[in-house]
């Protein structure tokens, strides 16, 4: 079995759903709705927790999250990370306190747009410059080249 945690999560969710459907008092329609709602919530939580555990243990490697192609940290990626965190946290706090999906103002879109545009243009400049390596031909400070989906045969972009 390749992923026992995944199977265990599904089994646990099914068990919880059955328990709610059998023991919770109410008419059958309400019981089904509650069972499905709680089951979906628990399943989502367990999947999210599995991903977090994989990141924490190193199974999902995020060591090059901020790396440029060729090594070294990228300021534009760092800025995009900061603003994504800030806006995600803000959105979550607003949803929890007001119990509704908020209207997203233009300011938020401007913040994300500025940081994403900066990241894109920075990548374009780096590609146009034909950079070999930030720290020389042997790679960056952490010894890891960025894996951002580009199929580069050399360390430069």
């Amino acid at each position: 079995m390749k992923n026992p945690e995944f199977v265990a999560s599904v089994i646990l969710t099914v068990l919880v759903t059955i328990v709610i459907a059998v023991w919770v008092k109410g008419d059958p329609t309400t019981k089904v709705k509650l069972a499905l709602s709680y089951g979906a919530l628990i399943l989502l939580f367990l999947f999210g927790f599995l991903i977090l555990a994989a990141i924490a243990s190193g199974k999902i490697d995020i060591s090059t999250l901020l790396s440029e192609s060729g090594g070294g940290a990228s300021m534009s990626r760092f800025q995009l990370l900061i603003f994504t965190f800030v806006i995600a946290l803000s959105f979550f706090l607003i949803v929890v306190s007001s119990s509704r999906l908020p209207d997203v103002p233009a300011d938020v879109l401007a913040l994300l747009g500025i940081s994403a545009t900066t990241y894109g243009v920075s990548k374009g400049i780096q590609a146009g410059g034909g950079l070999q390596s930030k720290s020389g031909p042997n790679g960056g400070g952490n010894g890891a080249a960025a894996t951002d989906g580009t199929n580069d045969t050399k360390k430069s972009s």
């Binding site: 919770v24 709602s37 709680y38 919530l41 989502l44 939580f45 999210g48 927790f49 977090l52 924490a56 995020i62 060591s63 090059t64 999250l65 901020l66 790396s67 070294g72 940290a73 300021m75 760092f78 800025q79 990370l81 900061i82 603003f83 800030v86 995600a88 946290l89 803000s90 959105f91 979550f92 706090l93 607003i94 929890v96 306190s97 007001s98 908020p102 209207d103 300011d107 938020v108 401007a110 913040l111 500025i114 940081s115 545009t117 900066t118 243009v121 920075s122 400049i125 780096q126 146009g128 410059g129 950079l131 070999q132 390596s133 930030k134 720290s135 031909p137 960056g140 400070g141 952490n142």
Partner: protein, 120 residues
């Protein structure tokens, strides 16, 4: 049994807080590299690879402005968590200008090199 919305809120706090915590911990312990964050590449004909690194004022000012805007935004949300805060127009313009300065400096350094080499 907690209500669905309460359970969802707790789950969100755990997952989002856990993710932020893990990323923050990795940043602090070096699991996610921040080396050379303030150093930019510059075209250098005297260097073996054609490029060298130097501390970049554009990156430093971009970092300061980014952190200021992020902390300001978070403080506004914590103060009034009912809706997204409105940012002053000047702040967004300052951020955009800061990014333009950073990108302009990066383009000049990578495509043209040091001023003294250009002037020669």
């Amino acid at each position: 049994m907690p209500s669905i919305s309460t359970l969802a809120a707790y789950e969100g706090f755990i997952l989002i807080g856990g993710f932020f915590g893990i990323v923050f911990w990795k940043l602090l312990t070096g699991g996610i590299g921040l080396s050379q964050l303030l150093e930019g590449d510059i075209r250098d004909p005297n260097s073996p690879g054609g490029y060298s690194t130097q501390v970049s004022a554009g990156r430093a000012q971009s970092l300061l402005i980014t952190l200021f805007v992020a902390l300001y935004y978070l403080s506004q949300v914590i103060h009034n968590p009912k809706e997204f805060p409105r940012l002053p127009g000047g702040l967004i313009e300052a951020l955009a200008g800061s990014q333009a300065v950073y990108l302009g400096g990066k383009a000049q350094a990578m495509l043209l090199g040091r001023w003294r080499n250009i002037v020669k």
